[in-house]
């Protein structure tokens, strides 16, 4: 199975165009469309990324040439589909530095990955009085599954507090790790504020305390290189759609020994070794956790997206986005009446802000009419908003296709909002 099968199929879609270059922007067909008669300025990458042509082509290609159910046929199409699906597993393993492709479980997205761990490992490991530790920066998807689990098991959910700047309170995470902490689950990068957490140190501290670690890498993998072995976590999850890959593709990575020790999650086809009415036996990992027909074209499209991103180079992506974030932070904080929310020392991609006298929802509507797509709201992180005493923020988030010109438009848009509101 050669990785070349996933190479971008579109003629002229050079994968190695530099971030923000016209060649790279030309690979995103959606950037050619107009929004309210204006060119689209897409600054909502943290919600979902747009798809390059090679990823769109990969989906079409699967349905045009290889469509079949995976792991289920002797015929050539099924064999090819299976090769692509399993080949994608190798691409993902290499992308995050996993030791083995079997450690990659394909899921629908980060949410499903976290629920899988909570409902398998969580249910077997957690007893009454045990604790799960999360942080005050989490997306709802890394709060609610643990809340549900704790309620079911009589366990306690502990939350590491954050500062006004949106950083974890120094020392608080370590101090909350106790002998009863069975699971520590935390995001690498906050989707609401952009804070980059010191996850390697957190994993080390949790490990010393005997807790199993799960890292939510949704807002990390699109922006910098990730290596699960260097990080030394136990589980890591991310969603493909935030990483230029198709909707419905997502990854749960777990250490093989841990995955093997866990009970299966959903029951059905593919996850079994044998079935009789008296009982069933489970397939080996990762198939034990992949019941039912998977979204194989989405997975193949994800492999294409990862190879495309690697061809651009994650170091270049990181440098490009850091420069954009620095420029946007400087220019937007210089506007009178605008306040940046989340001023952590280490941030990635995300710029949350509020304008005096203007609700973020109104900011979002006015910018939209200018073709600028941002997010306005609580960003599925209501506890972050509550902690900072806000109902909502406006959020611009950057990706590989953004440029300084996008920041020009955003700054002009903010000034126009203030003008309209007489703020």
């Amino acid at each position: 199975m050669s990785a070349a099968l996933f190479s971008p199929a579109a003629p002229g879609a050079s994968p190695s165009a530099s971030p923000g270059s016209p060649e790279l922007r030309a690979q995103f067909p959606i950037l050619a469309r107009k929004v309210h008669k204006q060119p689209l300025i897409y600054l909502d990458n943290a919600a979902t990324t747009q798809k390059p042509q090679c990823v769109i082509d990969a989906l079409t290609h699967c349905y045009t040439h290889w469509n079949a159910n995976v792991h289920r046929g002797v015929h050539l199409l099924s064999q090819e589909a299976t090769e692509h699906y399993e080949g994608a597993r190798k691409v993902v393993a290499q992308f995050i530095g996993a030791a083995l492709p079997e450690e990659i479980v394909f899921v629908r997205g980060a949410t499903e990955g976290i629920n899988l761990v909570a409902q398998t490992l969580g249910r077997t490991q957690l007893s009454k009085g045990d604790e799960v530790l999360i942080t005050g920066l989490e997306h709802h998807s890394n709060i609610v599954p643990w809340q549900m689990l704790c309620a079911e098991r009589g366990a306690t959910l502990r939350v590491c507090p954050i500062t006004d700047a949106g950083e974890l309170v120094p020392g608080a995470f370590d101090a909350l790790l106790a002998s009863r902490t069975k699971i520590a689950a935390f995001s690498w990068v906050s989707n609401a504020l952009g804070t980059v957490n010191p996850v390697a140190a957190m994993c080390r501290a949790a490990k010393r305390a005997g807790a199993i670690t799960l890292v939510d890498a949704c807002q990390a993998v699109p922006h910098f290189a990730v290596n699960v072995q260097e990080l030394d976590c136990d589980f890591l999850v991310f969603s493909g759609h935030k990483l230029y890959a198709p909707n419905g593709s997502g990854v749960l990575w777990g250490r093989k020994a841990l995955l093997e020790s866990m009970p299966p999650w959903q029951g059905g086809g593919d996850m079994i070794a044998s079935v009789t009415f008296e009982g069933s036996t489970w397939n080996h990992v990762p198939h034990k956790f992949e019941a039912g027909t998977p979204d194989y074209p989405a997975v193949a499209g994800m492999a294409t997206a990862l190879q495309w991103l690697q061809a651009i180079g994650l170091q270049r992506v990181q440098a490009h986005e850091a420069a954009l974030l620095a420029e946007a932070t400087e220019r937007i904080s210089a506007i009178k009446g605008v306040r940046i929310i989340g001023t952590a020392a280490a941030k990635a991609s995300v710029l949350s802000f509020v304008i005096d006298g203007v609700h973020p929802h109104d900011i979002g509507t006015i910018l939209d009419r200018k073709g600028i797509a941002i997010r306005a709201g609580h960003h599925c992180a209501q506890p972050v908003m509550d902690r900072l005493g806000l109902a909502a923020t406006a959020r611009a988030s950057f990706g590989v296709s953004n440029t300084s010109a996008d920041i020009d438009a955003l700054v002009e848009g903010i000034v126009a909002v203030q003008k309209l509101f007489g703020a």
């Binding site: 006298g357 203007v358 609700h359 973020p360 929802h361 109104d362 509507t365 006015i366 009419r369 306005a376 709201g377 609580h378 908003m385 109902a391 909502a392 309209l420 509101f421 007489g422």
Partner: protein
């Protein structure tokens, strides 16, 4: 920019910045809380009633300009009216913001200013949340209402 001008009419901006009848009636005869989970708008409505008519009404909470102005103009428009009369007004407002009404309808009075909302389907719930909350107060349901 013209449809933005229709949405953010001067009267709407004026009421958003200086809402009328802002606050809480305590004691009150009826109250309710409304919440739009999409954008975080939260509105509280308190009422005084006499013989089926609204004698006083206040709202509080935090919302976007459309929601705040809608609440403010609603409180101005419902004083002295019965629930049945208010239902009719809300129906007209609802029709207006969803593009089914007649912006020239004289019965709307100042509320006609919300006609611009119909061009912004994502903002209809902002305009209707105060009315739903008022209805919930009439029902005297203490459970928060939601636009979802």
């Amino acid at each position: 920019m013209s449809d933005l001008g229709d949405l953010y009419h001067d009267m709407i901006l004026g009421h958003a910045k200086a809402p009328r009848n802002f606050g809480k009636l305590d004691p009150c005869d009826a109250s309710a809380l409304g919440h739009n989970p999409l954008c975080g708008d939260r509105i509280g409505v308190t009422l005084l009633l006499s013989q089926g008519r609204v004698t006083d009404v206040r709202f509080d909470g935090s919302g976007c300009a459309i929601c705040t102005a809608s609440a403010s103009l609603m409180t101005e428009g419902v004083k002295g009216r019965t629930r049945a009369e208010i239902d009719t007004v809300f129906q007209r407002v609802h029709d207006l913001v969803t593009g089914k009404g007649d912006p020239e309808d004289p019965e709307l009075g100042k509320l006609a200013v919300f006609g611009g909302v119909s061009e912004f389907p994502m903002r209809v719930k902002c305009a209707t949340l105060p009315w739903h909350t008022l209805n919930a107060a009439f029902d005297n349901s203490n459970a928060p209402v939601s636009t979802e």
